[in-house]
Symmetry: D3
Subunit: 92 residues, 6 copies
Amino acid sequence: MANWIIELAYGEVLSRDKLDLKTRQIATVAVLTAMGTAPLQLKAHIGGALNVGCTQEEIVEVIVQMAVYAGFPAALNGISAAKEVFQNREES
Amino acid sequence: MANWIIELAYGEVLSRDKLDLKTRQIATVAVLTAMGTAPLQLKAHIGGALNVGCTQEEIVEVIVQMAVYAGFPAALNGISAAKEVFQNREES
Amino acid sequence: MANWIIELAYGEVLSRDKLDLKTRQIATVAVLTAMGTAPLQLKAHIGGALNVGCTQEEIVEVIVQMAVYAGFPAALNGISAAKEVFQNREES
Amino acid sequence: MANWIIELAYGEVLSRDKLDLKTRQIATVAVLTAMGTAPLQLKAHIGGALNVGCTQEEIVEVIVQMAVYAGFPAALNGISAAKEVFQNREES
Amino acid sequence: MANWIIELAYGEVLSRDKLDLKTRQIATVAVLTAMGTAPLQLKAHIGGALNVGCTQEEIVEVIVQMAVYAGFPAALNGISAAKEVFQNREES
Amino acid sequence: MANWIIELAYGEVLSRDKLDLKTRQIATVAVLTAMGTAPLQLKAHIGGALNVGCTQEEIVEVIVQMAVYAGFPAALNGISAAKEVFQNREES
């Protein structure tokens, strides 16, 4: 079931090639930071953003930008999530 | 008062140069589409995205991507907003 | 573009037969009332609920129930939407 | 139906006397600004805040404060709503 | 205090007999999945849905349906919650 | 980075003297309860409200009031947060 959902989401929408992968991941990090209801998916996409070549600085910057649109608590929680992902990468 | 808010938001956060302007506008279009509570600001930022060089196709694409993260009604409303902005540009 | 979205949503997810159509429409009216960000889609689905055999009383009741989970303003806006749909049906 | 909802909300919860009326209205203006999904109720409660003795400056101030917690678009929409209510009062 | 809230919610609204209990629970599971801000209450209502006769398949299906209206992260989190509730039932 | 955010939020907006500190904290507890996406910040501001002289009863009351505007799950989660903060204070 969960597999089916992931296939639908990633297969049908995200594989479309009209936006480069870095921009897609940045947009996803932005929206998951702003919504604040899916912290596990946010961390997964912060990792995904690193995987497609975004720098830590770019990721932090888009999260900070969310303070403007969704408030400072959302941005602060996003930064905590990013720090956790960055530290896990460095340790492994 | 409103001026003060806009200055704060745009002066302190958005003028930081760690993300290029196109990526910033794409992230903003993404989050305002997903939140769905500020249609006027969404239209303003779709216009802003065009102004800094995003294509109509890229803007539509990030809005469609929001269907995955915030649901289809949010994406459909975002597409309506984009169509309206695109048509106003062509007419003027 | 919009057609593609609608096909994906309705073709892949909503055509699955594990829930009867009335229950699906009631769940959709519930969630769109609670979210409060897509009033046009809410009205469309209130109409859809009537089309698959829900009574006006059942629709109003699930909207009222949303007061418990999403607050009274969301429920009151949902009731306004329902009244508008019911009146349009009676007039036509 | 709508009457029943309003009675429940105002009769059971808001008549409790553990918070003064000004603070209650300020809290309501705050939350409706932040949620951004019930503009009519926001305007009604801005009027209600004026009725129980809040100044225009206090109302604008709590709306501006929401920029911190729910983002600038929410605060800007709240300020537009407040301006509209203030102007209607002055004209009547 | 909490007791008073629960009495109000369940005594005044949910005991009304205009919707059958299964439909009420399905609507509640739908909205709590979509909102994503009350995971404990979501699990309680998934249990409640089982108690009034909903099948596991029906519950999963309404949660999957929420992907359409509130996005895939909300639906995936809902499915995790459901799995946890189903496993606890089987073990006890 | 996080420091910069906190300075911006607290230095530019919250230090303005047009609302007394108790009312500001009550409004913040209200909105964080209603949004439900930043439980750590909610607890910090419940503590902040106590620090500037709000009583436990006032804090609980504004949280209960949020049931009207944002639903009972949000209010119940807010009450859990408040209980936790109150107990930690008594123990220390």
